[in-house]
């Protein structure tokens, strides 16, 4: 049984939460520039590591807010809980974020806002 520290409500039993799967999957904005195979990376293909995994959770029976969790899929140890829209801070979770094949995909590149006429993506 996991004890998950909701950033808004504190330590709660896993029963109160739902897991939303892999974190940091952004919808490609420039989707028309992608091939079907590249779009499949976004739509269907999932990171499924044996080790540190970055995933989204929601406190369904509590505050109903989303947050990210870095968790080990072998020991079930929760390494870090961090807010939506941010990347992890701890070394192990940072390494997992960097190592994910998703960082190299065209779908992820296309998720950044187009930056014509001096607008820069963030």
């Amino acid at each position: 049984m996991l004890l998950i520290k909701c950033p808004f409500c504190g330590d709660r039993d896993e029963l109160e939460f739902s897991c939303g799967g892999e974190a940091h999957i952004a919808r490609p904005l420039a989707e028309n520039t992608l091939t079907d195979a590249e779009f499949a990376d976004y739509l269907f293909l999932r990171d499924n590591p044996k080790g540190v995994f970055l995933e989204r959770w929601i406190h369904t029976d509590g505050c109903r807010r989303w947050f990210n969790v870095a968790r080990d899929t072998v020991s079930h140890e929760i390494i870090e809980v961090y807010p939506m829209g941010e990347t992890p801070k701890t070394e192990a979770a940072k390494a997992a974020h960097k190592a994910s094949w998703r960082r190299q995909t065209a779908a992820e590149a296309a998720a950044k806002p187009a930056s014509p006429a001096g607008r820069s993506g963030s």
């Binding site: 990376d41 293909l45 499924n48 044996k50 899929t73 072998v74 020991s75 079930h76």
Partner: protein
């Protein structure tokens, strides 16, 4: 359907005595001390024509049909632990072919036809028992969805019948059909040809028969890397050295994403724990299999008398082969309501297996972008029933480097074309 699958060479060319009532009697004379080994424990050779990674039911079946049907005998099965120690030995042994779509009917019925002759084919008692599989519905909507599925199943020439609550009560006397409970039994459908088999025996039977045909079964040999030469596979790195081979078939269930990463390819798989438990043995009270999709519970009684119960998948990814408590608790609550007799039973064992769930609840039987590398995975929560059919079509795919008619819809391409085979309704356990 109406076809007979090619079951391959029969008989045991390895010179092992056949298992029969006579061999049993003969060995009783020596207090069963002189039974020959069922399979060898060979050292891995430096090179094979093909290597199968994973010595579970699907992997061993693949090796057996490659040797028996396609004459590929210079092959090896690599298993990191012991044969059938993964999901093959952890499932609840349910066999059925009552799926919604034509593609699923083709492969699961192919498997069921092979099950029906498997004990004879392998000369091994796999204790296949066609005791029927009854799926129950707890709402009007589920009942309508079920009759739609039954019509589709019948159009594919597969047996299935809708039953009302009274008929269910007559078929399964221990069930509670009181309509005032939280999830009342409103109806169900029965596949009489469905049933159970002894899961360990399936692994052992395939292993023994494959070994007879010359297949090297190598246990305690973990694959640590897949060596590529450009776009082709060159061999596998293992804990017992490098093995050169032009063809590698990955049949590793929960670890398929780990294997895929070694080859630099990606899969749409999420690995999740699926839990089951058995009670203390009691006298026979249940001579069929009952499944409920809505409350995520399935139950049968083993030949030893244990009640075998299976739960839903856990909600988060894991490779730990153990699950969380809320999942079986939920299932037991539903089980006790449906079968009040369970309330006084003590549970003896409880375990988890890591299943490879796919977005459309259908398997992947496919070539990959790496020439000579094949994957058979994504069976998720319901792979055991397909063991012979899965091995049969995967052997054909590896031998000929092209999918046959049954395997073709299960290609990885479907996640690009969108031709998904959505079996979330028939998979029995929500993914």
């Amino acid at each position: 359907m109406g076809y007979k699958p090619d079951r391959g060479a029969r008989g045991l060319p390895g010179g092992k005595p056949k298992y029969s009532i006579f061999s049993l009697a003969r060995n009783a004379g020596s207090y069963h001390q002189d039974w020959q080994r069922a399979w060898r424990a060979p050292e891995p050779k430096a090179e094979y024509d093909a290597v199968i990674i994973g010595g579970g039911g699907h992997g061993l079946a693949t090796a057996y049909y490659m040797a028996a049907v396609h004459g590929m005998t210079n092959i090896a099965v690599l298993e990191k632990g012991w044969l059938g120690g993964g999901n093959t030995g952890r499932n609840t042994t349910i066999i059925r072919s009552n799926y919604l779509w034509d593609e699923s009917a083709a492969i699961y019925e192919h498997a069921l036809k092979l099950w029906e002759g498997l004990a004879q084919d392998l000369n091994f008692n796999i204790m296949f028992s066609q005791r029927g599989v009854l799926t129950i519905a707890h709402s009007e909507h589920e009942l309508r969805e079920m009759s739609r599925r039954v019509h589709a199943i019948k159009l594919n020439g597969i047996d299935s019948d809708v039953l009302g609550p009274e008929e269910i009560k007559a078929f399964v006397p221990i069930i509670n059909i009181d309509q005032s409970i939280r999830y009342p039994v409103m109806g169900g459908f029965l596949q009489k040809r469905g049933g159970t088999a002894r899961h360990d025996a399936v692994a052992w039977g395939y292993a023994r028969a494959a070994d007879d045909l010359g297949v090297d079964i190598i246990q305690n040999c973990e694959v640590t890397g897949l060596r590529r030469n450009g776009d082709s596979i060159e061999g596998v790195e293992t804990t017992r050295g490098f093995i050169k081979t032009p063809k590698v078939g990955c049949v590793v269930a929960g670890h398929c994403s780990v294997m895929a990463a070694m080859a630099g390819i990606r899969l749409p798989i999420a690995s999740r724990p699926l839990q089951a438990l058995v009670s203390e043995p009691i006298k026979p009270v249940l001579d069929t299999v009952i499944m409920s999709n809505a409350v995520h519970m399935y139950i049968s009684q083993s030949d030893k008398g244990e009640m075998v119960l299976g739960a839903g998948v856990d909600k988060y990814n894991s490779y730990a082969q153990r699950g969380s408590f809320p999942t079986p608790e939920h299932m037991i609550a539903a089980g006790v309501e449906l079968f009040p007799i369970l309330s006084r039973l003590r549970m003896l064992r409880h375990w988890g297996g890591i299943v490879d769930t796919c977005p459309d609840a259908s398997p992947i039987i496919s070539r990959t972008d790496v020439k000579g590398l094949y994957f058979n995975c994504g069976w998720g929560t319901g792979g055991f029933k397909a063991t012979p059919g899965s091995g049969h079509v995967f052997a054909d795919l590896i031998a000929h480097d092209r999918p046959n008619k049954i395997a073709a819809p299960y290609s990885l391409d479907r996640f690009q074309t969108g031709l998904l085979i959505d079996e979330h309704g028939a998979a029995g356990v929500a993914h």
